[in-house]
């Protein structure tokens, strides 16, 4: 792209950069604004009178004596026991990622090595399952779960999330395993390994890049889920996202919107770190299915 022929005219370059800057502001500004505002009092965060209040924290200074305050965080994490929701989220996310990767690698490996037609049909069925909105499935769970007393517990939500996660995991891992040459495990089997031994000793050591990428997306699905966790967990087992939604209902009257703002920032922070460290894997994961068609 460095040759003279490829160089763009100045006007086009200015237009492209201007557009890109506009997009970056659009993409990043809301997050920075909320992060900044989460350390203010409500009157500043929603500064109807003058937007500069939100930047300089005039009311925060007047109310608390300092331009920044951690009241929102204190209220959310300590008073409203957001730490419990964070703990529940951590349990759910870790379990969902581990279980769905275990199931997914086994199934994806089998699909990638099967020459028969049913492998293709299974993938197609998985695609249809992938299209089901989780909330339609939830309405199918509720009655049986009530009847069998399964409703409200963390393990129930975990296994449901694992299942909802499976179609996507299968697609991704199958396309990943297809890129590992068949000769590798077949030569191991010629040497006397069983299929499972070949998988255990030959495939597992080389599969980690694909598994990590898929794991990232399982993590995002479990961490971001609202429909399943909101409907299937009882109040004391709530994870972070439904907990925030419940803040919205109760806090408008108490004037504690700042609890919700603080917890929104707390939930977003790990995602920031995740994107920072795993940007390459996320990009390659998003494109893996697409570019290969």
């Amino acid at each position: 792209m460095s040759s003279v022929a490829h160089r763009r005219p100045l006007a086009l370059r200015i237009a492209l950069s201007g557009f890109l800057i506009a997009w970056l502001i659009l993409a990043a500004f809301p997050f920075l604004w909320t992060l900044w505002g989460s350390f203010k009092v409500e009157g500043d965060f929603f500064s109807r009178a003058d937007w500069r209040n939100a930047v300089f924290g005039t009311l925060t200074l007047a109310e608390t004596g300092a331009p920044f305050t951690a009241q929102g965080y204190w209220g959310a994490w300590v008073k409203e026991a957001f730490w419990r929701a964070a703990l529940n989220s951590a349990i759910v996310v870790v379990c969902v990622v581990c279980i769905s990767l275990t199931f997914g690698t086994l199934g994806g490996y089998a699909l990638s090595r099967s020459p028969y037609r049913y492998a293709f049909w299974l993938l197609l069925v998985a695609l249809v399952f992938r299209a089901m909105p989780p909330v339609t499935l939830v309405s199918g769970y509720l009655l049986p779960f009530f009847e069998w007393n399964l409703w409200g517990h963390l393990p129930t939500a975990i296994i449901v999330l694992v299942a909802i996660n499976q179609p996507f995991t299968l697609w991704m891992l199958t396309s990943f395993f297809r890129n590992i040459p068949k000769d590798l495990d077949e030569s191991a089997m010629v040497d006397g390994c069983s299929r499972f031994q070949a998988f255990r000793h030959v495939i597992i050591p080389v599969m980690w890049p694909g598994v990590i990428t898929t794991g990232l997306f399982s993590f995002l699905l479990a961490y971001n889920d609202f429909a399943v966790t909101a409907m299937l967990l009882s109040k004391e087992n709530q994870t972070m996202v439904p907990k925030i939604a419940s803040f919205l209902g109760t806090t408008q009257t108490a004037g504690n919107v700042m609890f919700a703002v603080a917890s929104v920032v707390s939930v977003t922070a790990p995602l920031f770190v995740l994107v920072m460290f795993f940007q390459r894997q996320i990009v390659s994961g998003l494109t893996a299915g697409a570019v290969k068609g």
């Binding site: 022929a5 950069s17 997914g104 020459p115 249809v128 429909a227 697409a290």
Partner: protein, 340 residues
């Protein structure tokens, strides 16, 4: 791989999907043709010296016993599908007869809850899918023109709207456009109307939800196109230039055909995702102005009385909608597979 080995490898994932995806679909279908039991009414005769009066009372004991014996409820066939909350056949017929012309019939039909939700879901899907793909394409072109050192940070910030939890992304935008928020105040200033509020206006709310949809799904299109742009054959581009193709010609006749398969793939994924739009409606507290099918189900399920049957009927209708949406892909795959 032998069938036997395949079976054992595939068993865990198949069990999970059967139990928690296939089975609920069946369970939803069954639930949707049953309605909750009505309360058992008993006639009680109260006799006083001045005569006897008969009154009816609810037999709590018998009602509970009946509900425990048959938790599904009583069989009602397609009644739930046809009632006012869903397909509203009777109401539609009345509207049709009463309405002077097609326009007023449609606007009244959209006031029925199910059709309102369907209309919003379809509008949202039809607007957000193409617009977000287009925006993503332009961003990809722009990022591709950047010097290499700047690309990493640009991609980082561009990914954020997609990675963040949908409910939270919606909330962050909602707080800004709230009439007390910074963007809301700015919109009021622009419109010169200090009472303007997104929460109070249906067209504004629909616009905001669409803007949120584009904002949150453009990054996906961007990333996919950006990766696609790295694989464009440089020889073809150069020979097109030698043949005198302008910049626009190169985009139109070289880049776009090369990226076409990506576009179909993305359109498919985005159609599926946009059709189940749900979280933004909660974060924008938009239920008064815009409901989607998913939100409709959620509303039935939540609250004090869980309207399982009503939610189940909507779920079945939603699933049918998805099957219709996916059918072109399924038919095409079927044909291709037949050929191969």
């Amino acid at each position: 791989m032998k069938h036997r080995t395949f079976f054992w490898f595939f068993l865990p994932t198949a069990t999970a999907m059967l139990l928690f995806i296939a089975f609920p679909i069946v369970s939803v279908a069954i639930q949707s043709v049953y309605a909750p039991h009505e309360q058992v009414i008993v006639e009680v005769e109260n006799c006083t010296p001045f005569g006897c009066t008969r009154s009816s009372a609810i037999d709590q004991e018998a009602t509970r016993a009946l509900r425990e014996a048959q938790p599904l409820g009583r069989f009602v066939g397609l009644e739930i599908y046809l009632n006012r909350g869903h397909l509203a056949v009777k109401e539609l017929g009345e509207l049709w007869r009463a309405a002077p012309d097609l326009g007023s019939f449609l606007s009244r039909a959209l006031n029925l809850p199910f059709y309102g939700a369907l209309a919003f879901t379809l509008t949202y899907t039809a607007l957000v899918t193409p617009l977000s793909i287009l925006l993503g394409f332009v961003i990809a072109l722009a990022v591709n023109a950047l010097p290499r050192a700047l690309r990493g940070p640009t991609i980082f910030f561009s990914l954020l709207p997609m990675i963040v939890t949908p409910l939270i992304g919606g909330l962050i935008l909602f707080w800004m456009v709230d009439s007390r928020g910074v963007l809301g105040a700015f919109i009021q200033y622009l419109a010169g109307d200090p009472t303007l509020s997104v929460k109070a206006s249906t067209p504004l709310m629909w616009t905001m939800l669409t803007v949120y949809g584009i904002w949150s799904s453009a990054p996906f299109a961007f990333v996919v196109y950006y990766a696609g742009l790295q694989t464009v054959p440089q020889d073809t581009l150069e020979s097109a230039m030698i043949d005198g193709a302008t910049r626009w010609h190169r985009i139109r006749y070289v880049l776009l055909p090369h990226l076409m398969p990506l576009t179909t793939f993305m359109a498919l994924i985005k159609l599926m995702d946009n059709f189940r739009v749900f979280e933004p409606i909660i974060s924008f507290q938009a239920a008064a102005h815009a409901q989607s099918l998913s939100y409709f189900i959620y509303q039935d399920l939540g609250g004090e009385t869980r309207l399982l049957s009503s939610a189940a009927a909507t779920s079945v209708l939603t699933i049918l909608g998805i099957v219709v949406l996916l059918s072109p892909v399924l038919v095409r795959t079927w044909r291709n597979f037949g050929k191969a």
